[in-house]
Structure formats: structure tokens, C-alpha cells
Amino acid sequence: MKKLFPALIVFTLFLALPQLSQAQCKSFAKKVCKLELAPYIHDGNYNAAILTEGEDAELYKTFYAHQQYRIYICSSESLPDIEFQVLDVNRNILYDNRKNDLSKIWDFELESSQQLIISLRVKNSEGTSEELVSGCVAIMFGLKED
């Protein structure tokens, strides 16, 4: 029984890990990412996940005519750079941050409402490290009143 106790600790820690990571991600998005949206107001939606280098994510959202938006891709410092593109529904590229020094911010407005896709990928680390790095990535949207 004594020897099973450490096993139970590992088991408990194992089950708690996803929640710990998610809580850290929320705290990171709230304390760090939100600040970078200013002077835009954060829309309040929480789109964040723990991603590993080489991994990608996509977000589908309708953006409305005449509303000014800021997209901010916020990631942990431990992660390599993030590449992101904004695509239309036919996957035509409207913005690619690789052509803009891997900028994490893009400000835009639309003449007519459109459904767009935000596609991002965590780059692989340079060098020959034997460890894959993971961290929080949040896709934040800012709004501006006229």
C-alpha cells in the first residue's frame, strides 16, 4: 500500500496536468495578451490552446462590414515564432505575416462582411534540440468604436 501511494500521486498529477496548463493559458491570455490589443477593446472571447512546435491551428469567424478589427497572435516566449495567414472561404491568402517580419498583429476593416479563416503554425525550433517545446497560443480579437 505504501508503495502504491507514490503511484497515486503520479496518477493525480497526471489527471491535473491538462487543467493546470489551461489555467496557465487563461492567466497568460488575460495578463499578457490583452494589453497588446490596446487601443482596441478585447472582444472577450477566449481562443487559446497549448500548442507544440510544428503544430497548427485554425479559427473560423465572421467579420462584419465597417467594423475595425485587430488580430493579435499571442504566444509564450518559450515558443518559436508563429506564422499566420488570413484566408477567405476559398482559402485565398489575404494576409501572410511571413511577408511582414512575422508580425503578430494585423489591423483591418471590411467593406462587406466576410467569413475568414485565421490559420497559424508554430515554427520548428532551429538547431538540433532533442526536445519539443510547447506553450500557450492565444488568438485575440480587438474591436474599435468609430
Partner: protein
């Protein structure tokens, strides 16, 4: 069934514990947990632990983890596959291959704050009669009704605050608090939030910030606690309320083609696709299934509206660095269809706020 679960448990343990070696029929784990420090954002090692288990004990742990963690619903399994729980992990070729095929997909609906801003941008006026009365809060006792009305009251709150309706803003924040408390959302709207709101009731920027934070706290709470279905229901409630306000504010006698509010209602045809995907993803939940049926009714009417869009062109203002996405849209919709849509929105919204 047991086979894949045990395999999954072994694979997951491999993520958290490394390296593992066997000596004299004992398994040795060196458990190293790393976290991102919120202040420095640097990777810090929190715990190191050396654990020794007999092969039998190890098997017991795998079976236990497999039972409790590996054998969840299909959706939860996929989610666990998608998320790597530690910041630094030992690797092998197969693991790299697995990770690279993983893809996280988000379906994002307009938040209550965005909905209110879109309404104002489209020329909406303030009409308190359209909002869900705050004295109905005591009637919402099921998770479904509280989640729907958390979204509805948060949209009403955002709408009232954008039109500088100070008294209504406080009342609707209080109504949203009751719904969040009922759903067990910790600290979404505590007394300090209400006090801060009252102290800054004439400062719209601060109010918007408070509302934004409130929305984020509740949505992230549901995500963290594996209650994605509740999160989806809250968002759909808020979205339907925005649709209800917009459609109700359209003058029935007005020309539809030149009306910005009508355009925003028609735009929701695109958002409805996202709503359906979000609900489909959570359809194992009975409350979601019910709402999905309502949304399919709405879809039938939206399918009668034809919308075509020209190719999008981008133009960036060098001074402001703001890009404009230029495109033209053509909508074909009869007045009868719009009236039918308005009626269906009313039916669904009345059902949500019963």
C-alpha cells in the same frame, strides 16, 4: 476497447515522465514538470520526483489511467490528443509524427460585446423594451436556461452600456452575475466587479473593459473545466439576442435593400454556419441537441436568401497600417422571407427566455 486505452495511457505517461528505465524488475521514473512563469514567461522546472514501481504496480497505474483518462468520450479523447500537457517533452520519431498531424480548430462566434458594437455601427437605436427583463432571473434554474440567459443578459448589458444607459448597465450586470453564479462560474462577476462598474459608470472605456473581462472569465472557465457545451450555449444565447434586437429594430415598412440592420441580419447566414459547427461539435449534450434543432429551423429560412460576393482585394493604408478588405456583395431576399426570418428568430428567442 481495453487495448487502445492501455496503449493511450502508456503513451500519455511517456509525455509526463522521462526517462524511464527498468532495473531488477523495477521501473524507474524521473518525473519533471515544467511550467511557463506568468511574469517572466520563461520555462521553469517546478517539480522533480524519482519514483520506483514494480512492474505489477506500473501495470495497475496504466490500467487506472487508461480507465479514467483514456476511455472518455470520443470528443474528449480527441481533445486530449490535441493538447500536449507539458512544456518540454522527450521525443521519438513516432511522437514527432503524431504531434505534426494534430490540428486545433476554433469556431468563433461574435461575442456579446462585438454584437452590440455591430448593432450600433449599423445605426441601431436603444430600445429597452426589446431586452429580457431582469426580474425573470429567478425563473432560470436549469443549466440550459441559465447558460442561454447568461449569453442573453450579457448581450443586453453590452447593448445598454454602448448606449450609455447607466442604470440598465448595472441591472444587467447583476442579472448576468446571477446566471454565472447559478452555473458555478467562479469569480466571473464578483462584488468587486460590481463595485468597479458602479464607480466607473460614466467611463465607457472602463465599462467595456469590465464587460470584456467578464465574458472572457466565463468562457475560459467553461473551457478549463471541460464544459465546452455550456460555453457554446452561452455564445448561442448571446448571438440569438443580438439577432432578435437587430431584426426587431427594422421598420417593417422600410426598403430592405438599403437598410444596414437588415444587412447585418442577413450576414448572420455566414455566422449560422459557425454556430452549427460549434453545436455539432458538442451535440452529445442533450441541451445542445435541442438548440441545434432550433438552429436548423433558422437555417431553412436562411437557405432561401442568396448572397454572392466578389473576390476580396486588400488595400493597406501606409500611414495607419490598416488594411481594407474590398469586396462587393449582392443579396437576393424577398420581403416575405425577411418577415419569416424575423418571426422564427422571435419564436426561438421567446423559447430561450421563457
Amino acid at each position: 476497447m481495453v487495448g487502445p486505452c492501455v496503449y493511450k495511457a502508456i503513451k500519455s505517461i511517456g509525455f509526463a515522465c522521462h526517462p524511464v528505465f527498468i532495473f531488477k524488475k523495477k521501473c524507474y521514473f524521473y518525473l519533471q514538470m515544467k511550467f511557463v512563469d506568468n511574469h517572466s514567461l520563461k520555462l521553469v522546472t517546478m517539480t522533480k520526483y524519482l519514483l520506483r514501481l514494480s512492474l505489477l504496480q506500473l501495470l495497475a497505474v496504466f490500467v487506472a489511467v487508461g480507465t479514467f483518462s483514456g476511455c472518455k468520450s470520443e470528443k474528449e479523447q480527441k481533445k486530449n490528443d490535441d493538447i500536449v500537457q507539458v512544456d518540454s517533452i522527450g521525443i521519438d520519431e513516432q511522437l514527432i509524427k503524431d504531434v505534426r498531424t494534430v490540428k486545433e480548430i476554433f469556431y468563433s462566434l461574435p461575442s456579446p460585446l462585438e454584437t452590440a458594437m455591430i448593432l450600433k455601427q449599423a445605426g441601431a437605436q436603444y430600445n429597452e423594451e426589446l431586452l429580457n427583463p431582469v426580474d425573470k432571473t429567478t425563473g432560470y434554474v436549469t443549466n440550459r436556461s441559465m447558460a442561454l440567459n447568461l449569453g442573453i443578459y450579457t448581450t443586453d448589458l453590452s447593448y445598454a452600456s454602448l448606449f450609455d444607459q447607466t442604470q440598465a448597465t448595472i441591472q444587467y450586470m447583476d442579472a448576468a452575475k446571477k446566471m454565472a453564479d447559478g452555473l458555478g462560474v467562479l469569480n466571473a462577476i464578483d462584488d468587486q466587479v460590481i463595485e468597479r462598474l458602479e464607480a466607473n459608470i460614466n467611463n465607457r472605456d472602463v465599462i467595456m473593459d469590465i464587460i470584456s473581462e467578464t465574458i472572457m472569465t466565463s468562457s475560459s472557465f467553461f473551457e478549463e473545466n471541460d464544459r465546452q457545451a455550456m460555453s457554446a450555449i452561452v455564445l448561442v444565447g448571446g448571438w440569438v439576442e443580438g439577432l432578435h434586437i437587430a431584426a426587431s429594430l427594422v421598420d417593417p415598412e422600410a426598403e430592405l435593400s438599403e437598410n444596414e440592420l437588415v444587412s447585418r441580419v442577413v450576414d448572420q447566414k455566414m455566422t449560422l454556419n459557425t454556430v452549427l459547427k460549434l453545436l455539432e461539435r458538442n451535440k452529445q449534450n442533450e441541451d445542445v441537441q435541442e438548440i441545434l434543432t432550433d438552429m436548423h429551423e433558422l437555417e431553412k429560412i436562411y437557405n432561401k436568401i442568396e448572397v454572392t460576393s466578389s473576390k476580396i482585394e486588400t488595400v493597406t493604408d501606409e500611414e495607419t497600417n490598416v488594411t481594407t478588405l474590398r469586396s462587393q456583395k449582392k443579396t437576393s431576399m424577398s420581403k416575405d422571407t425577411f418577415m419569416e426570418l424575423t418571426e422564427q428568430i422571435k419564436v426561438i428567442r421567446d423559447n430561450f427566455t421563457l
